[in-house]
Symmetry: C3
Subunit: 190 residues, 3 copies
């Protein structure tokens, strides 16, 4: 009797591991984990050139609609303004903290009846903690408390990373200064 059991167990093994091997050789859209493999919280600070702050300005209006100009953000919720920036990145919300890198790229205000922008920029990090760049694009509906954009790639310490970044307006002063908090969650880390 005992003898005859052995083949049966082997048969079960066959079926069991056949199923495993099928599932791994025939790839399916696999449900990936939703826990970030790495996170970062950073702040960046934007001072728009207004014709009088050349020394401090970190950004400038470089595109405007027909009704705009290059030292004052346009009427109609700044619709059509394109701004190029090179903003300091800090670990806390203090403009005067030692920068850990630069946020470089552009945003463009793209709606006539509320404040929204489209962002395309990179974080270029250069500190003892992180060396490399993180590349972002996405829509930024400014009136929402939090806005999610995509981390579409990275280099250096962030080689091939992807993820989602949550952007929050941490402070603003008139139409010249604003500070954004960015919570970066990487879900592909390599």
């Amino acid at each position: 009797m005992t003898r005859s059991r052995t083949p049966n167990i082997l048969t079960l093994f066959c079926i069991f591991f056949f199923l495993i091997s099928v599932s791994s050789t025939h790839p399916m859209p696999r449900k990936k984990p939703y826990n970030p493999c790495k996170t970062l919280v950073l702040y960046f600070h934007d001072v728009i050139y207004n014709g009088q702050n050349a020394g401090n300005a970190t950004s400038a209006i470089v595109g405007a609609p027909q009704w705009g100009n290059y030292t004052i953000l346009a009427s109609q919720f700044h619709f059509g303004n394109v701004v190029v920036f090179d903003d300091p990145i800090t670990l806390d919300n203090n403009f005067h903290s030692k920068p850990v890198g630069r946020a470089q790229g552009m945003y463009m205000y793209d709606t006539k009846n509320t404040y929204t922008a489209w962002l395309g920029f990179s974080f270029v990090l250069n500190s003892t903690d992180s060396q490399g760049s993180i590349n972002f694009i996405g829509a930024d509906p400014l009136m929402n408390k939090t806005r999610d954009i995509s981390v579409v790639g990275g280099t250096g310490d962030f080689f091939m990373h992807r993820g989602v970044a949550t952007v929050m307006t941490d402070a603003f002063e008139g139409e010249v200064y604003f500070r954004l908090r960015v919570d970066i969650k990487f879900y592909e880390c390599w």
Copy 2:
């Protein structure tokens, strides 16, 4: 005789599953499936500001070459024109259908001897069916019937999605209105 077979079968198992375990611990560039895990067909509608249609316009020229201006697309196939837009997205090709979201971002005409554009934009969807954003970039050779661009990321219902979108000019009227059909195929869905 029967007795001695058992070890042989076990040996075969060993070899078989050793191979499986090797292949899964030593990751190879695995051939992913080419069937989309999700698809969407959407239309968006662009009305360029021409100096006289402020009420209806959904986009505006915000960059132009030296020979251009901001109410008429430039000569030489509009080379150098940058347009910022906030266009309604609809489920069918009717401009007056209830929008399910907004297409926001920019396109720039980038060739002197034919119509081509470079696109960077987001679909911000806000309907009972879909909540979230989809981010696109890519080249758009307008004279081709279909053009493929990249879906480089997404948020909300489209968290971390990637794919390819096929863009088709569905209609245009002079140089003020055009409608694009976008067939989105996601190949990474999470």
Copy 3:
């Protein structure tokens, strides 16, 4: 004695393959291979319109800060200049070699105290070797010998590809012509 060994071996199998199956059903951020699955080395050539080279120019200034204009790159390291381009791509460093495609998109100078740019563009390849597009974004600190940007997607032969591209300034003449060498390494190939 021999008889009783068989169950023990089976028990070991159970434990061994149970561990394998656990590791494959509970996905972890898996360490992907760092060997590219495909590589390309290409050159592209940019001739900026300066008011006198309309015939040869492949790019044009389309955005400028308040202190700039559209035929001369601005002072302060060209900060704020936005350039749209349609540049020939060649297999070697010869401007007159037969192009294998076009580099189309834009760059914007984004720093006041050194040369840096932000890039958003596509390679549209159309040769016997390659048909399809490759989409790039990233920061370009021009004074570094090599700069890494992200390959965020592709179409055609480069369907869904991702990777990293290393950009090098191969030559430049005054402020009108430059040539970039781009070493593309794809790490996701599909």
